[in-house]
Subunit: 428 residues, 2 copies
Amino acid sequence: MANVIEPKVLKGFRDFLPPAEIARRWLIEKIEASFRLYGFVPIDTPALEYTEILLGKGGGETEKQVYRFTDKGGRDVALRFDLTVPFARFVAQYREELSFPFKRYHIAKVWRGENTQRGRYREFTQCDFDIVGSSSPAADFEILLMMRNTLRALGAEVSIRINHRGIFNRFLKNRGLAERSVEILRIVDKLAKIGRDETGKLLEEIAGEGGAAEILRFITPGENFEDTLRSVSELAGGESEDTERLKLLRGYMIETGIADSFAFDPSITRGLDYYTGIVYETFLREDPSIGSVCSGGRYDNLAALYSKEAIPGVGSSIGLDRLIAAMENSGRLRSRPGYARLAIACLREDQGGVCQALAEQFRQRGIACEVFLEEGKLTKQFMLAEKKGEGWLIIPGDDPLHSPLTLRDLSKRENREGLSVEDIVSLI
Amino acid sequence: MANVIEPKVLKGFRDFLPPAEIARRWLIEKIEASFRLYGFVPIDTPALEYTEILLGKGGGETEKQVYRFTDKGGRDVALRFDLTVPFARFVAQYREELSFPFKRYHIAKVWRGENTQRGRYREFTQCDFDIVGSSSPAADFEILLMMRNTLRALGAEVSIRINHRGIFNRFLKNRGLAERSVEILRIVDKLAKIGRDETGKLLEEIAGEGGAAEILRFITPGENFEDTLRSVSELAGGESEDTERLKLLRGYMIETGIADSFAFDPSITRGLDYYTGIVYETFLREDPSIGSVCSGGRYDNLAALYSKEAIPGVGSSIGLDRLIAAMENSGRLRSRPGYARLAIACLREDQGGVCQALAEQFRQRGIACEVFLEEGKLTKQFMLAEKKGEGWLIIPGDDPLHSPLTLRDLSKRENREGLSVEDIVSLI
């Protein structure tokens, strides 16, 4: 293979062949349709931004993962690693033009140079939806409702586990652990991964034996939503705005008949994220082990880096790749080789014009119709059509536009002769 | 503004606010729907690739424009600058898995660090569609038909100007100018930009006075398609496979009733591109001066860099940004502030749950319905709904799920009272 460059993609990057891409597009279209039903509007932002905008005053973990370089104009630039930071910049930049509460969605690729050994990709798609400019519990609830109903529209039954950062913080303060809250949040966030025993050991190092036991008690859900709320409320030193908000949200869930989709899980912390209010993660009923497929929370001040005006909001993000993996595992991903159900066989290449004219009669009725372009044995054309997922093949006559047509039913392996375009439209 | 980072994007990059992004998505969805009607299937490839893959053995003009850097693993990588090169790599890499002829589309962003003074963007969207693995004129024709019909589906009447590289090359050989063909193609490609006189002068430097006159004569279209074909055929030394193919394609155009959309323009060369057969550019009838909105051609060997197997093909690319600019100029771009036509006013924030339950009754019928989240004067809510393009606002009663509803018609500025959900569905 001298003088030929080996065709390959970068580690952690992927090509999508048609069946995979058709499935991805189906999912994205369903998600987008659901967002639109709620009156959410799309935005788009550049893949490449000033590094200072994306990383702010230092990035820590993020900085290590970001694709960063100097462009030909000497600018320090980077590929976006999420859609939240560009959205914060966007809201600050256009705050005079937008009407608040502003409800937007953004479905786009992001890039992180992560360790690929954990099955992570370096290029992946996020589907973010946020409401900014409202502190109302009604905004929290709308996001929760959208999470549930959007995933249901994809055929996924979910359990959304919610918590409130405020209650956790009050609890830690109550126990004199406020100053260790970052470390504690980081440990608790690993609970599902490392298990209860290991979590307890790590907590003991910080909070002592008694403190660790209290924290474990705090993060253990009770019998049901109400029960857990009562328990954490007590441990946090009584009721407050945070518990009142959860109570209100619970009432909304019951009023809309979706209470079964939600659980109160005080171990949900969303690690070191910038959330200040409710936080949540979403697990698939049939495959919770795959992890959260949709997570988010409420934040006090989205655009703090770029604006002195505090802009509160609440949002969530669907991890499309993980969702696809789960749906593939369960065989529920609608994958197919192509969009056309109908093809026209090529008996003579000089019929290239009239066969297209025939195909247009179907396309104008909204029926996807492929025209085969190369002469070949009919049996070979049957096979090609089947491979492409086309259930029907038209065998044209000498004069494709005027002779009666023969229709091959590829699943039944039988022909029907003497048909018109109208006959075929009603048959397929 | 101390301690605050100024929110801005890189030069040549753009944010899309909802009205612009809604218009873009509308166009992309229309284009995609059209591609699917022809049995074309989508693929996707990474934004980032090995530089060697993208630039091959040296890039010239392209190399200067590409966003290239070394990643944290020491790899020489670059952002894709078009969708053709990644497609060539893709076809070479998966040639065993794909069934040929393979008809694919790919709508995605590409990046070029171009001079932004010419109104060019550094991040822009391409919509490519190609048929590979077929040398048949039927494939050429299918691409031409799709170009015309896809743009018509967007409401754009077009004139597609086609030429054949083979005729041009034969003509140059015939005139003893074969060795200067690269320079001559480059000059002729600028004809529309620099005008006939300037082109003549530049040609004289290469081909002498007589040669320049001959070339100008060659590239000047005749009365009509047939007339031009006859003329260039003579100048090129008679009929050959290239003129035969154009004659065949012309016959197909007439058979399908689309001949008026096409002109034979021997000055179309597509510069230094890798085309070997027909080439074409597409101009909007109402605004040809904006330049070609959809161009392409036939190539002998798409994946030559990555495979020893020659893979012929034919394809085209819609320049979405230029098309949008043209449609904006003509006021034909369907832009709107949002997707919802209906909103529910917020009279009391504690109705957040039941108002969502009410909204779900519309959403389940496929009607996008926004729920307002913040209490406020009704007149203010009327204004907000109008700003968001929602023509109708529901004013709920004390019990939103059971009390009769009031519907505000925002365009007529009048209320209708005592309505049910069904009444509203039939009214809006």
